[in-house]
Symmetry: C2
Subunit: 222 residues, 2 copies
DNA sequence: TGAATAGTGTCTTTCAGACAATATGCC
DNA sequence: GGCATATTGTCTGAAAGACACTATTCA
């Protein structure tokens, strides 16, 4: 970045989109909003906000979360920046996409006139999406599937205490495949990122040991 | 992204910075430019350009490569988007960083008045850098070191034909550690991404088999 | 005591890593 | 023949994957 005269250039607009994932009814779901304005009015889209000049990217992502979905995130990470020319029919818009994981799968009240409706969609049953949002969602799912293999970010999809069966179920839902119970437990416990809480879960049958993450912050494993 | 009135928002400026890596004198090096304008006039920086409204991010990255360093890239990938508030003392600037790999380590003529000088620096002997570019360079090096472990992008640092010793040397330079010759060859050949060219390299002693990549395009291994 | 879930161990295969001797071409 | 580089295989330990039975609690 060298040029010193800013006025020589017309700037593209910058937005920050947030892909919020959660688990509901044993499905990996994403928060989407139904647009209240043109373009794509009435269509479903990933929630997003315009970046303000006095606001960091991450702050904008958190604002988008709160303003549009009411969700407080547990895990937030920058995904990718999408800047194709024809993404937005109105003008040139570059969007910095973030993805977030949360255990809060309650739908908030709509707090913004730009949004007609908010809903959770299973990622396998997505509606038609505005802009290039289908591509962005798929990119995020791929990232999530990769990243739970070598980090501990799955904590963002679990309440503080959980059984190993709960944990395995989350992995199976995200990866969309079944895992062997013994191998899963062997591997997870060998990572040394969990600690038993020594309480038992109440339930209809044999209670399971409860665990929690030693640290609920991102760790790269191995 | 919902708001439909663009004029409600003042846009941050958007730049695209390009981190071009190559190997010279058995060192991993990066192209840097000495700035011709304030701020940071006379300091070294990563080459970059303002994103034009009618230009895709990748096109801007390629333009930056050519305008500032004359390099034609072999491999180009988006790195990360940096948007801290205080990155640029003049105004709010969001930069989308790309990193590129090339075998061309010739210094081009300076073709742009915003650049006083162009030079290659070994990544272990970096000068003081303008803006937050030190952080960005480190981020790119980390990405490169990770990514040559599970992709074939090292092809961007090698001429079309090379010996296994050449290839091993590149890995050792990038990773900054020595590798066992037998294990390296075993692993690389088992990946099935190389093919022998059946010529021999001229040299002072026993000639080595020449290889080339079956495909010189990004592949994720395993 | 039956139903449902929790919890556990062995064997095999694969991959990474340590390690050194022989082969070839050129001078 | 001497030198410099190329090329090759075995052993060991660790991790991943296939696979099935026992233990515990509650109704």
């Amino acid at each position: 970045m060298q040029q010193s005269n800013f006025d020589d250039y017309e700037s593209p607009a910058v937005t920050v989109d947030v892909l919020v994932f959660t688990i509901k009814d044993n499905k990996l779901c994403i928060f989407l909003v139904k647009r209240g304005f043109e373009p794509y009015k009435g269509e479903w889209a990933v929630p997003g906000v315009f970046l303000k000049v006095g606001e960091s990217l991450e702050a904008a992502a958190k604002r988008g979360l709160t303003e549009k979905t009411g969700v407080k995130d547990l895990y937030l990470e920058q995904l990718y920046t999408f800047g194709d020319l024809d993404r937005d029919p109105r003008a040139r818009v570059v969007t910095v996409a973030y993805f977030a994981l949360t255990t809060n799968n309650q739908l908030p009240e709509i707090r913004n006139e730009s949004v007609q409706e908010i809903a959770l969609f299973p990622v396998n049953e997505l509606p038609q999406l505005a802009f290039d949002h289908k591509k962005i969602v798929q990119y995020a799912i791929d990232r999530l599937r990769n990243k739970i293999e070598y980090t501990n970010i799955v904590y963002g999809l679990l309440s503080e205490q959980f059984t190993l069966t709960d944990l395995q179920r989350v992995y199976e839902i995200v990866l969309n495949k079944q895992l062997d119970k013994r191998n899963f437990r062997k591997r997870i416990l060998s990572l040394d990122i969990l600690e038993p809480v020594d309480k038992k879960a109440g339930g209809a049958h044999r209670p399971a040991m409860l665990y929690q993450f030693k640290k609920r912050e991102p760790i790269i494993l191995d």
